[in-house]
Symmetry: C2
Subunit: 147 residues, 2 copies
DNA sequence: CTCTTAAATAAGAGTCATTCTTATTTGTCA
DNA sequence: TGACAAATAAGAATGACTCTTATTTAAGAG
């Protein structure tokens, strides 16, 4: 028994791959499945270690490339970390992250204010802003000297 | 003739090194001087190439380590770039950056709103937030299809 | 000034996270 | 049931640090 039924999501993933002319390979399905089931924001290498258990012949490059491909079609989000490996997020709904500098965990949170950051008019006039992001660093609940 | 008199800043740099028990080496002086004179936000390697002209025997490691040391005592800022090398900023006054995804330039701008981002109370309660930063990506004036 | 010593440096090896190259295999569609 | 573009596996290559070790040097003590 699983936390929830992941089949509809998997089906949506497959449909989206088809829409983008991407072949449905067993590797890709295994990778996407493992990401859905992942606890939180794994790195490409973590994903490689996981998927390898059920797919011993898979290569790191295939895992990494697949994750980036999924990001390219909007099926996963890439969480970039200053000075660290990319982290992958199966949750593509709008949300934000706190990066724990002690344990490396990435904690999700929602906050309207960060989702509609205004761009100062002066900047908007001179530049074409493509993305806006707030990066919070700190200590998560388990790493902070408790209360 | 220079853009402005950099001697007071250099003197302040030297005083600050002394306050932190850092030795004043000719390498460090040359590196700090070159950063003050830099056009904008060079990488460690760019700094190495520049300083090497007047100091041919200097090593990359010395340049890189010096820049990080300067950041440690608050004399320079480190601008981290997703998926790219660190950039160093001699301007430690409060300001923000737009990262041009086409040419890699980092453009400075001021904006009060980004300097006092509120942390949602729910987050502040659970986590100890250490730093907040807004990262804007886009196209700079020269890279954007003009007008 | 000269000595002493901890700090800093140069050179090169090592590491990490990709990213590329090439040969081989495989979905997909005709 | 092919044909073939796309995808994969394996391993080499790359970029940006980061570490190790031997050597040199800034700066305080005498
Ligand atoms: Mn998330
Ligand atoms: Mn700046
Ligand atoms: Zn933590
Ligand atoms: Zn540009």
């Amino acid at each position: 028994m699983q936390k929830y039924d992941s089949e509809p999501r998997l089906q949506h993933f497959i449909d989206t791959c088809r829409q983008h002319q991407l072949k449905i390979t067993p590797q890709r399905v295994a990778i996407y499945r493992a990401l859905m089931d992942s606890d939180q924001h794994p790195t490409a290498d973590m994903m490689y270690q996981t998927v390898r258990e059920e797919f011993p012949s898979i290569s790191f490059d295939t895992v990494n490339r697949a994750l980036l491909t999924f990001a390219g079609i909007g099926m996963v989000d890439v969480v970039e970390v200053f000075g660290g490996p990319k982290r992958f997020d199966p949750d593509i709904d709008d949300h934000h992250h706190l990066h724990c500098t002690a344990c490396g965990r990435i904690i999700d949170f929602d906050h309207e204010g960060y989702s509609h950051l205004e761009v100062p008019a002066e900047i908007a006039r001179q530049f074409k802003v493509i993305s806006k992001r707030v990066v919070l660093k700190g200590l998560c609940a388990t790493c902070a000297p408790e209360r």
